[in-house]
Subunit: 434 residues, 4 copies
Amino acid sequence: MSDFFAGIPAVTYEGPEARSDFAFRHYNPDEMVMGKRMEDQLRFAVAWWHSFAWEGGDPFGGPTFQRPWFGDTLDHARAKADAAFEMFRILNVPFYCFHDADIRPEGASFAETTANLEAMVDYLGQKQEASGKRLLWGTANLFSHRRYMAGAATNPDPDVFAYAAATIKTCMDATHKLGGANYVLWGGREGYETLLNTDLGREREQAGRMLQMVVDYKHKIGFEGTILLEPKPQEPTKHQYDYDVATVFSFLSEFGLQDEVKMNIEQGHAILAGHSFEHELALAREFGILGSIDMNRNDYQSGWDTDQFPNNIPEVALAYYEILRAGGFDTGGTNFDSKLRRQSLDPADLIAAHVAAMDVCAAGLKAAARMLEDGELEQRREDRYAGWRAPSAEAMLNGGKLEDCFAHVMETGLDPQPVSGGQERLEALVARYL
Amino acid sequence: MSDFFAGIPAVTYEGPEARSDFAFRHYNPDEMVMGKRMEDQLRFAVAWWHSFAWEGGDPFGGPTFQRPWFGDTLDHARAKADAAFEMFRILNVPFYCFHDADIRPEGASFAETTANLEAMVDYLGQKQEASGKRLLWGTANLFSHRRYMAGAATNPDPDVFAYAAATIKTCMDATHKLGGANYVLWGGREGYETLLNTDLGREREQAGRMLQMVVDYKHKIGFEGTILLEPKPQEPTKHQYDYDVATVFSFLSEFGLQDEVKMNIEQGHAILAGHSFEHELALAREFGILGSIDMNRNDYQSGWDTDQFPNNIPEVALAYYEILRAGGFDTGGTNFDSKLRRQSLDPADLIAAHVAAMDVCAAGLKAAARMLEDGELEQRREDRYAGWRAPSAEAMLNGGKLEDCFAHVMETGLDPQPVSGGQERLEALVARYL
Amino acid sequence: MSDFFAGIPAVTYEGPEARSDFAFRHYNPDEMVMGKRMEDQLRFAVAWWHSFAWEGGDPFGGPTFQRPWFGDTLDHARAKADAAFEMFRILNVPFYCFHDADIRPEGASFAETTANLEAMVDYLGQKQEASGKRLLWGTANLFSHRRYMAGAATNPDPDVFAYAAATIKTCMDATHKLGGANYVLWGGREGYETLLNTDLGREREQAGRMLQMVVDYKHKIGFEGTILLEPKPQEPTKHQYDYDVATVFSFLSEFGLQDEVKMNIEQGHAILAGHSFEHELALAREFGILGSIDMNRNDYQSGWDTDQFPNNIPEVALAYYEILRAGGFDTGGTNFDSKLRRQSLDPADLIAAHVAAMDVCAAGLKAAARMLEDGELEQRREDRYAGWRAPSAEAMLNGGKLEDCFAHVMETGLDPQPVSGGQERLEALVARYL
Amino acid sequence: MSDFFAGIPAVTYEGPEARSDFAFRHYNPDEMVMGKRMEDQLRFAVAWWHSFAWEGGDPFGGPTFQRPWFGDTLDHARAKADAAFEMFRILNVPFYCFHDADIRPEGASFAETTANLEAMVDYLGQKQEASGKRLLWGTANLFSHRRYMAGAATNPDPDVFAYAAATIKTCMDATHKLGGANYVLWGGREGYETLLNTDLGREREQAGRMLQMVVDYKHKIGFEGTILLEPKPQEPTKHQYDYDVATVFSFLSEFGLQDEVKMNIEQGHAILAGHSFEHELALAREFGILGSIDMNRNDYQSGWDTDQFPNNIPEVALAYYEILRAGGFDTGGTNFDSKLRRQSLDPADLIAAHVAAMDVCAAGLKAAARMLEDGELEQRREDRYAGWRAPSAEAMLNGGKLEDCFAHVMETGLDPQPVSGGQERLEALVARYL
Ligand SMILES: [Co+2]
Ligand SMILES: [Co+2]
Ligand SMILES: [Co+2]
Ligand SMILES: [Co+2]
Ligand SMILES: [Co+2]
Ligand SMILES: [Co+2]
Ligand SMILES: [Co+2]
Ligand SMILES: [Co+2]
């Protein structure tokens, strides 16, 4: 047990008029939303790295946080885990996520590092059992250590590829052992700083091979979770291979893995790639690869990944709308890949930030559900394409030819007239559900 | 014959010390570069729309140019063509490009519009024959008219799809008749202003069908040129389907068209999508779909497509380097999709801008050729990946398993050490060839 | 009377549950907010240019709107005015704004153009009297005509300066005659496309002189309204002199006009300059130059001025919060410098877009008022700086010296400890008022 | 003496054909450029922080560099200084720059920290004397330590203000003792993360007071160098007070310090603020506050401060052109505020990067000088404004009135015709000097 959060009560639903920073005003786990408990729709997870491992540094400043568990020993790691599970309890959040590097101290050798990981997996297993908390996903940190500075799977040095592969194995084992619902890969160093020293074609092949190895190993060990890739266009490198959903889909298609791998989509990464969050979600849904989300917000005016807690209900509602249209989460969930601002030093900041974010998501989800259940928006969308239900239109779509269209236009003197797209009225309609 | 450019001499190569705005200092058509005449390497084309059809307006201002050929009759269209071919002669440029809407007046009906197009194709055919100038590519303008405001292939109204298909047929016929080396599709309205009224999945299917129809028709009429798609992420719409090279490749793969269609890549569109021009070129080369280029520059600090004439030799050199690495152009070429600033009112501005741009490209090409012939840069790139030539590394890439890598790392205590990426030294190396 | 909006009822407050596109759910003109009627707090105005003059074109497409009043005669201009006042009536909006070019046809000469303006001012005067509608501000369009392509006040040709000055006089006269509450200057062409042909210093002086002339003329004719400058960083030019609030303040200071001129701040222009709307408002308030606002939203992911109708209550609330902190509007108001998307063709779109925007503003204003009246946020802000109320701190601020601070730190061994900035808790606090 | 750079020869001018990474091809210190030795025009300085203190971390990764001088003791600090002066010798660079935190270990108290600083100042003084190297500027690091997380001068805690003031005193003393040519202030934490907890007006006043104290102290101790402010719009904070040159000028004007303080302008910061480097330089020149430059480049497509070594001669030439138009540097110079990419691990990378950057600057300077000496560009600029030399135009600028302009336009029927801005021809002209 950690006393880091001493004095902060377990957070419960108190309704919209609650004044405390430590009360839910919208998140009510047992309330039913589109046929599921809200908890089961949202599947909230806390991210170990931002909340427990990050020290508050930025490119121009050192650590600002001072946590009792900062240190390099297994004792520190266990103290960190104690605080983490204490926070999960206070927040009443069902899931968490981690990288290997978040939960165990780095050892002097790969073997020692692996032993540390295994020790901590045992410890987390016990804590899971005692608390009922579950692992949404595990992943390997293949970007912080200097050995990965030029990539992991895409490194010019095959030894780094091998080291990364070995590390992924240990992380998949850990995730499997802890009953993780998914396993995630984020290629923060899989890209380039300069094209001048980069063999794009070769590096893509290396990445394809690594992903195939991950899928093979999943089947070998009988891991039932979903393999997820998380796109991001740039930062830390100048340009990353998993740029966005469309790029990753082309990659999966090229290597024949589109039925094996889904997407973990982060709001901030969508923004950095020039897309809205809902665009990336909708596109993944159309491709059949929508898996899970990293919920945060990026400051639209800062050109880097600010990973802030979400605070805009209208935006969040549009994201959950796309998820609900996809039938909701299967193995995926809502991971808060969000970190405190580095000036938010207090334990209470950590709790209050999550509470507010959970409320924003709950309010957004409920608005999205109302919108979908009401059906007006989908009706208007469908009406807009009604002309395509005519047999002649269907025929054109299925076997049309330019020359037939030409003959038809010439014969009928066709002169199609534009119809209002009604964007402002649709935006006004959406506003009514918020 | 047009007297629009009266007083401006035919531009010839005069060497680096020339002072006139109407002399080439770098572009020397017959000079050999990597085994081809410079003219045949660069394959310059003038874009009809920017140079002869655009009137100088912007979102806050009306026309600034006053050209004698502005007007809606076939006489105007012929006067425009006369001026265009006069400019091609002055510039000694071998190719040109057009949209249907650039070269013919819009008629009162589709039939009349088509007749106008045919009349102008005959006229251009005669001018080609007289001048030896050739068509690099033709294309259909499916974005300016209000009927296309919600898309052409991806319109919610199947009549617009049919109208667009009929129009494409006429433009492919025109291109075929004029011996065009390529046919281009740019989907400026194939995207959305708001997801709220958009069925992404359906619209992708519509676009896929249209592209298949284009490919079918190409084979039917025996057109030998290449079908090219031109990616652009946004503008005019908020979000376009042909976002960038990777997105288009995923689209081609989905519809099985990756061997039928190549890319026409524009510098400005690469920038708007968050990529460098050379990135898009290299990626297309790796995918085997590098076709042709639209050479311009975008102001990095303006968030729209400024389509300026190129003026930075170091940047242009990196682009041609990727093209030369791909073996140079096949049917493609260098189209100046660049327009005068709207304050550049004079005929001399139009000539001088192209002269300077051609010189920038020639200087860039020569630098790229020196760089490739010298071989130092490619040698350093190859050396960086040398480790992957070891049999054990190749084996890992071809059939590796996570568990084997794990065993290997554990057994050997592998601890790979990072090696300098040498970026600054590579940049300095590149600078030497400029 | 115009029948353009036939069938659309006058819009009234029907409460939050209203379903119609033509009902206010939040805007209730007579409801009191912080001691004023909501109508008097918000002071809504419709912008003539976007709603009645803009034809729906964009850089890649021509007009999409087809309005009966499009044309070049005084009859067209009166029909346009009739439709406009009909819309003001339907919306129950108290104010409107115009450029000269919006309301009158351009004549063949300056004299004819001026006569046209005067005729329309008479006509608008009659309509004002009949309807009770008022003019929030008038302004001169010194950017659309080709004569202004290189600037109006900052043009290299003094004749253009003179022409612009003469035009401003006519627009100030018109505004004065119609009882306008403000007169606005927006320098869309006062900037440069390239530094290479620009004399920055001289052009600043020209701009300073023009502004002085405007202020002099205001006093000469006894115009009681406020002179407002509207900053914008770029677009249409590459770089404009009135970049943002801080830049304009330095300009006003340089020419001694900071007590004569205030700011008209637009959300979209704040965004383009890299600031939030609330930042620009707060800064103007601190400088004592907060005048009026142009309420719209810019798409954060489009790099140009999209001028969309506002639809995000949390964002709008933060803007009105800064305005309420400044004591609310004096002569200023909320002008919708927002335009329909070019696919929104219908009269109903025009009404519904304004209705929704007015509701968003009303909801935002009410949230802002609750936040300010509650006082919690301001209390927390004040507490954060409490240390500065100590006499020693005040002394340091008023006459401190580096050497005294040094002595103090050395003597006391001062080692200040950071305190949480509490950002997430403040964001959560704000969310409660929404 | 450090053997860190063992094996790397002193770099000398070898002419354009040199092949080595350790030869100057353009920088020839004694060559005369516009009446001064090239060394005296460029006044190159190495930045201690990037080259000797930065460890290669980024937001997603830890240190990559392993330098023998990394550590917290005075011995480490002296070893670092030895390596630095060895590099200055190899590069033949006349100047260097530092923050206090770069050159001395942090102590356990302010007194100890100050003593460490003084010890290192003595050491550097000896090394200066032995080598002839000089200090271009010193500055205080008021942004890395967590005590400054909420600002130094603008901190809500007056103790932090006092601590910062005391620190600045020690750094000004150090700079004075070492004969520094300038003293710089960069307010990396003087801004905000959220407006919600920020009192903009108060913080501006605090910043104004601190700057006044700096100026007062300069005069008190008889420091003859220039006080320089370095603008930057954002990063590390969301928004900084010293946004850009125009903003800082408004700040200096407000506090009456425009004759006491000049600008240190960084290319990367200009870019982040939405301006070109040459814009900021030209504006500062017009305001009379152009002081010194931080020469680097920012990746236009990365939204953060990449601080890369310059490598684009056309861009650098435009910057030096503005500096030469201002008469060249007085106390200022060219500081390389540029850092190696974190993958560039080797001592040779550090040398080669500077060599290439110095060459780029030298080539840019020479091009700029040719351009200015030739006079064609300035002649064209002057011609463009020739109309303003007419007495009537001058009169209008000095005492014109709107009503006089109106009368003049009406009487003469003035109808000014636009003249080509000739942008492309000017760009082509510039290209000839490169
Ligand atoms: Co994430
Ligand atoms: Co992120
Ligand atoms: Co193009
Ligand atoms: Co373009
Ligand atoms: Co506006
Ligand atoms: Co705007
Ligand atoms: Co700097
Ligand atoms: Co910087």
